[in-house]
């Protein structure tokens, strides 16, 4: 069980083999067993299998091939639409049109997503999260007919692996864990925590490919740039507002 978690690696190449309905239902059921705020279950999972829809999603997700190739694309949404409708039909007045409710629903959606990911992997399936979901959330809303009070939060592609990548390196445990209170980092600590990562052969190759001085500059100058971050921030905040989650009165 823990072994499945420890063995996780993202899979970006998939075989043609379909995921059968019984396995799909079991991993979706696992998703619904995650903790959820006040047992409200304020999330939805949209399972897309049809070629045509996957092609539209592929275009939205920066044309990453795995979106077309994997048999399943699951879009996890923060969803107060169902809950609000239930309240309205019951003479109860929902006040979930605010940022806290959006964030609460985000938490629900992500805990469900990680349950689905682990359940899938325990069946021998491969998964990969798509960070592009938030970048392109407005486009995904259009493609998947997503109504008001619902915002896409993350996506998983799922299928049988057609590659066997090695484990991704991680910072040592004491890089991310603090005891009792937060202990801030000084230069010496940062150097120590990043030393192994910076000395990996693959890091050296990446730096060469990217023509930067070091690994950090690949992130700041190539992968996650100011220009993109500002644009995507504006778009995503606009979408959260458009979907009805920014009423602060």
């Amino acid at each position: 069980m823990i072994q499945t978690i420890l063995d996780h690696r993202s899979i970006r190449k998939y075989s043609d083999k379909k995921v059968n309905k019984q396995i799909l239902d079991e991993i979706l059921l696992a998703g619904t067993k995650a903790s959820t705020t006040g047992n409200m279950q304020v999330y939805s999972i949209i399972v897309s299998e049809h070629k045509k829809i996957k092609e539209q999603l592929w275009a939205a997700h920066f044309k990453q091939d795995m979106v077309k190739q994997a048999p399943l694309v699951l879009t996890f949404c923060a969803d107060f639409n169902r809950f609000n409708k239930w309240c309205n039909y019951r003479n109860a007045k929902p006040a979930y049109d605010n940022f806290l409710s959006f964030y609460t629903a985000t938490i629900d959606a992500l805990l469900a997503a990680q349950n689905v990911a682990i359940a899938a992997e325990s069946h021998g399936l491969g998964i990969c999260y798509l960070g592009t979901t938030t970048y392109m959330a407005d486009k995904i809303v259009e493609i998947l007919n997503i109504p008001n009070n619902v915002v896409p939060v993350t996506s998983l592609v799922i299928g049988y692996p057609d590659e066997n990548p090695k484990l991704t390196d991680r910072l040592p445990l004491d890089a991310v864990v603090h005891y009792e209170k937060y202990t801030d980092y000084d230069e010496q600590k940062i150097n120590k925590l990043y030393q192994t990562k910076e000395q990996l052969q693959e890091t050296k190759e990446l730096i060469k490919e990217n023509g930067t001085e070091n690994l950090a500059q690949i992130f700041t100058d190539k992968r996650y740039t100011k220009k993109d971050n500002v644009l995507f921030s504006q778009n995503f905040l606009n979408l959260i507002k458009k979907q009805g989650f920014m009423n602060l009165e």
Copy 2:
């Protein structure tokens, strides 16, 4: 493995038994194996065990007894502080002072949290998420000395269970799953999906205790009210800004 997920129930009463260091390290390690955006690991986990700190956290978390009682309180934070420091020490200019970066780090923190939760449960430990983390995030920042570019996202209490509650009911799978695209809900569908939940004996007792007409009104009028949601939304948005994540230029 899937069975651990399917058997999840939140535990709110804990025995005195401590969690040994080896098990704690293993479940924390499981947290670090979760997917993380671009392998940036932009989250932190603060492990609080000392009585004095747990008492301060207990006060912040609406005085829920389990926060004092459980041996471990883990606070999961969206954290760009470590990553930004690394960039700055490497002559790389980080531009992660925006909402998208905060949200990206939120995703990292929550996937790690759910890995920790499942790993803990697979060791026979009980867990409970604390939704109060976002409501009281400004207070938790003070208690745990949390610096700029870090925001608490959720918390887990962890320990050996001193209760054996039954599984919490969930809506049927087709309440939260959509195929291909989002299918909106009409009154008939809502009635069908909520029927079982509304007819539970415990629902009837809750309605009696709360003096409401129905279950939905318990949420809107008692548990998650407009007044609280608006206040907590304002506080949380202010904190996100204060911690340095709302630069939109």
